[in-house]
Symmetry: C2
DNA sequence: AGAGCTGGATTGTAGAACAATATTGTGGAA
DNA sequence: TTCCACAATATTGTTCTACAATCCAGCTCT
């Protein structure tokens, strides 16, 4: 068991170089150190993260598959930026996929198996609600919520595909702090509906959530 | 215009090395020169396509994002293989996404804009139906069909995300030649429903298609 | 037979080097 | 001035080489 402990401890250090860049850029976005439209120069990133250009390129490739960066030949990478119209298109796709996730989760929820997980997610929602206006706790709560739903839904393809939806960038660009709290309430309602295995309520809350994000996008459409 | 012609002609040659590997592996799958489970060794691929290992790695990364290869650290890449249970999970996701595509396409179809495109897709369906039992025309017809639907739906995120769904591998593993023709009929019915902008018919045909693929998977579940 | 070790194969990574392409800046012509 | 052509610069695409890290199969020893 000492061996296990060691393996777990070294896990953090032994992440590969390309993984480090990948996670680093995502973290930068979360903490608003990078903004949509910003160019990402391979050489700069390599120097900054202390890795080779190969590793940077692989990271950019993966980020591109996630819809986080735009990649165009000989012109390099840039943090993806979506106009309002495209944000709405992303939302439609996200709606179709998350609604499948919620429905499936509601059908499979088992308190014995998933109760603790759901409680943890709700705790993160609480934490975000209690916090000031910083973006980090909200992002954490959102991720925790979706991770839990995907876990309960237990569909491997869904888990694989979900991060590839461009919602990350949509949230980055079109997130009004004023409406963030309302969305937390929404997540909470979905949690309840899933725990109650109430299909109708899940559908309804899912729709409410989408409507809300749509309002959010339209409200902020002019401002950027 | 001579310049344009040249640019178009050289387009084929000037595709990058990593792109060549990416497309090459997909072509190998289409023509059954590679099978699920097969390991892909970087050095071999590099030699075979006459490119560096970097290019191979980037191609594998992209194929992994598409759900075509499994990539695990220090163990390399292999053509993805899904058991029947996972194939059904993929199908559920594909259903959610394609059904959005069909609905949207039905809502936006305009004969003036999309008539020719749809006719071309139907021609490919005809060609597959007329052909013998080879896999290639069927694959071509299927791709043509989905490309057209996505074009009509005109949702950029949908177009971006669609290829990332693992249906490619599901079709590879669980496709009974006997049921292939029936699926063509199904595509045709969806085309008609979209052209008629008949939402109800689209839903119904979409459901029929999913049911059929599900049968197909279950029927072939034991055999591999 | 099973545990542990060893060697070979493969992946992960850095770095140098150069070609291909895009972008920017500069100068001159209208 | 304003616009176009062209040169200079920056950046990406790609291949090579080299080596460390890791996995795996086969072997040995008990």
């Amino acid at each position: 068991m000492a061996i296990v402990a060691m393996a777990l401890a070294s896990k953090q250090d032994s992440v590969g170089a390309s993984q480090r860049v990948y996670a680093g850029i995502l973290a930068d976005l979360d903490e608003r150190r990078m903004a949509p439209g910003q160019r990402l120069v391979e050489g700069d990133l390599a120097a900054r993260f202390g890795v080779g250009r190969n590793a940077v390129r692989e990271a950019l490739q993966r980020l591109s598959a996630r819809g986080v960066v735009d990649l165009s030949p000989f012109r390099g990478a840039a943090i993806r930026r979506v106009e309002a119209a495209e944000a709405l298109e992303v939302l439609e796709v996200a709606d179709a996929v998350t609604s499948l996730a919620f429905r499936t989760a509601a059908g499979r929820f088992d308190p014995a198996l998933h109760g603790a997980m759901l409680a943890a997610a709700i705790a993160d929602l609480d934490a975000a609600q209690a916090s000031g206006g910083e973006a980090a706790p909200f992002g954490r709560a959102r991720r925790s919520f979706y991770r839990t739903m995907l876990e309960i839904a237990a569909n491997r393809e869904l888990q694989r595909l979900f991060p590839a939806i461009g919602m990350h960038i949509v949230y980055l660009q079109y997130q009004s702090p004023r409406l963030q709290r309302a969305r937390l309430e929404n997540y909470r309602a979905i949690c309840s509906a899933v725990a109650a295995r109430d299909l109708a309520a899940v559908e309804q809350q899912g729709r409410a959530h989408v409507d809300q994000v749509r309002e959010n996008i339209l409200a902020l459409a002019g401002t950027r």
